[in-house]
Amino acid sequence: MNPRYKTAFIVLALAIAGGCVFLFNSFYRDAKNVAIAKLNQQQLIHAREVALGIEDFFGTWIRSLSSLSQLDVIIVGNAVGKRYQQLYYEAHREQIMAITRLDERGVIVDSYPARDEVGTDLSQQKHIRELLRDHRAVVSNVFKTIDGIDAVALHVPLFRDGEFKGSIGILINFEDLARRYLDPIRVSQTGYAWVIDHDGTVLYTPNQAYIGKTIFAVMKGNEALEAIVKDMLDGHEGVARYGYDKLVDRNVGPATKYVAYMPVRLGPTFWSICVASAEQDVFADLITFRNKLAVVIGGLFVCGMVFATLGAKAWLIVTEEEKRRLAEEKLRESEARFRTVADTAPVMIWMSDTDKLCCFFNQGWLQFTGRTLDQELGNGWSEGVHAEDLERCHKVYTTSFDARDSFRMEYRLRRKDGSYGWVLDTGTPRFSADNVFLGYIGSCIDISDRKASELEAQRHRAQLAHLSRVALMGEMSASLAHELNQPLTGIVSNSAAGRRLIDAARATLPELRELLTDINADGRRASEVVRGIRSMVKKGEPTRQQMNVNDIVTSVVKIVHADAVLRACQVQISLEADLPRIDGDPVQLQQVLLNLVLNGFDAMSDTPVDLRKVMIATESNGDRTIRVSVRDHGSGIPEPLRERLFAPFFTTKTEGLGMGLAIVRSIIESHGGMIEAENAAGGGALFHFTLSVHAPVSETRVERAALASR
């Protein structure tokens, strides 16, 4: 899949997943909030029930005791009163553990059934202090009696003529109270109730260890709980939650509790009851809901993904189709445009497929050859190529095609009228945008005129080179004559000697044989010299053949030998042994070297005899070229003349055409090389030129073919 679509798909999936998670979260949060609200409400109801029950319980006792406190006998505390008290106790012994009469100083004046407590001063107890201060009914904290039973004391003040006369109180079994009102409280699994009095003393909690302690000691630094307790101690009711991670000193991990609290009004004082349950209970109920929700949302996600994928695919297909349609339209348009351009261009254009067969020719081509497109398609075009060029043409085409290289070639193509015209064909491989090879495209231009003028120029160059060679030979005529004279002298002297020996009858056959052999050798030597001169002087067309440049150098050394002796110059050579062979014209290259060496001789006319040396060196450059240098020990090249050295008609000599170096340069360039001149270190001029190991084959072959065709 296209990476762009992949990214889009991932984004889509993420979006749908994000939506699902959001949905899930919001549903679940709502459900949770509802559950929490429900829990709070439930807990409040419980708390209220308990509060009302306890209020009612104490209200009943206070009312009951208040009515008892109206009796004078009780106020006075006589025997009748005591008897009443005893009866009261007896009547309620199920619920109360004792009945006690205190005087106005808080000292027990009568107690039933435990009479031995009479005279005990209770004024230091908290609730008695409140009683003595406020003269109102009080409820004590929960405390343990001597029997070890949790109990709560309830005292109602006694008045006589508006004067405080102590109180009458009962001891209520708190466990009984708790059992009746608090123990039944169970909200879910962990919900329970606890009760504190208005001082924060824990009155009741399922954990016995906390009872009687102050709540502040129990909660120890839990701020949320502290706020709740503060609100409870203010006598408010409400719901809240708090987190905790330890219970007393036991780590229980992070947990949250939801609480509902409510004051219990007990006459002038109050307790506060709190119903608490752990959060996990709320969630325990939610688990099923959550699982179902997860399944539903999961299903929604899967469906969403499936639909989104299908939708995206459909959209993709539609856009692709649209794109393809546009591209096709564009292609058709560009093809039409290409054909228009190709057909109106003033060149011949062809195209081939990957199978090397041609698949297109423009009008220019068809007009040139006068054939139809069907005739030219495939390999049909090659029927129009000149028979002499066909093989080369095919070779260049197939080799370049297989290597996917561009090529340039020149060949003759038959015109409409049957004559042949030269075309320059340039072919380039075609590639699609994603680099797939599609074949070749090429264009041809008619170069018949250029070819003709090129050949003309070439002929002029050859003529000029020939003239220059003839001139060179003229310059060397004296030394060449000497060179020819030497073997002739040998022949003449030898033959004279032979005749004399025969005349004197001194001749022996072996001696005569040797003599004749020498004559023969001298004759050959003379003919060699003549051939050498002839090859330089004859009017030949330039040729190309494989040769070793070292052979050219040695042959030139031979030719200039006589000249060197005549001018008291020496020629030294330094040849690289394994020089690669080159493709070139031996006569022309001899001409080049002759020119340079003779120039060297000329330059050294003022040099002392023992310094007159010309050095010829050959070496392989390693980059498929050969470097040949000719160095003399003359006066060197004056700097201002260096530029014009190779210019035609430039000469420093009194005789000569001034064409020598110009022709040298044109010869070197026609061999694909270049020549330079400089002053050598240590004096004298240094000419060096390069020759390609492989001369530009196609060009030279074309030239040869051209010459052959003329």
Partner: protein
């Protein structure tokens, strides 16, 4: 041609050494020195001299000849003046200093007037142009040797 050249050499010889050259006999001891750096010319000239009965001492290098000349008496030398290393004219100059009585026959590839004049200035010489006219050349050698022996 013969009529013009031989009288010239004889004339020169007689002017300076007025001896009757015909009275002198050829002797195997009369060694002719030959100096030419071209092996083919050297060999053929040696052969030509040999065919006329001369003893020939051939040198392909002029230095060798000069070394030889310091330790031997050289009655006559046939010298090519167009040689590498030391030119014929230089050899001539040194030889004149070394052995002023030596007869010199110069053979040259071309009739170089400048060289001829220089040679004349240096010493007494006879000039021959290659290829050699055998009779004139051999006569000149005979004459030269006879003159040398006459001394």
């Amino acid at each position: 041609m013969r009529k013009t050249k031989v009288p010239l050499s004889k004339w020169i010889a007689r002017c300076i050494h007025p001896v009757d050259v015909t009275a002198l006999d050829r002797s195997p001891e009369d060694i002719v020195c030959l100096v030419d750096d071209d092996p083919s010319v050297l060999k053929s000239t040696e052969r030509l001299l040999d065919s006329d009965g001369f003893s020939v001492r051939a040198f392909s290098r002029s230095e060798e000849f000069l070394v030889y000349a310091t330790s031997h008496q050289v009655p006559l030398v046939v010298l090519d003046i167009w040689m590498e290393h030391i030119t014929g004219l230089e050899v001539l100059a040194r030889l004149c200093a070394l052995s002023p009585l030596t007869r010199v026959i110069v053979i040259t590839g071309r009739d170089d007037l400048a060289a001829r004049v220089t040679a004349m200035q240096i010493g007494l010489v006879v000039f021959f142009t290659k290829p050699l006219n055998e009779n004139e050349f051999l006569t000149a050698v005979h004459d030269g040797l006879r003159l040398a022996k006459g001394l």
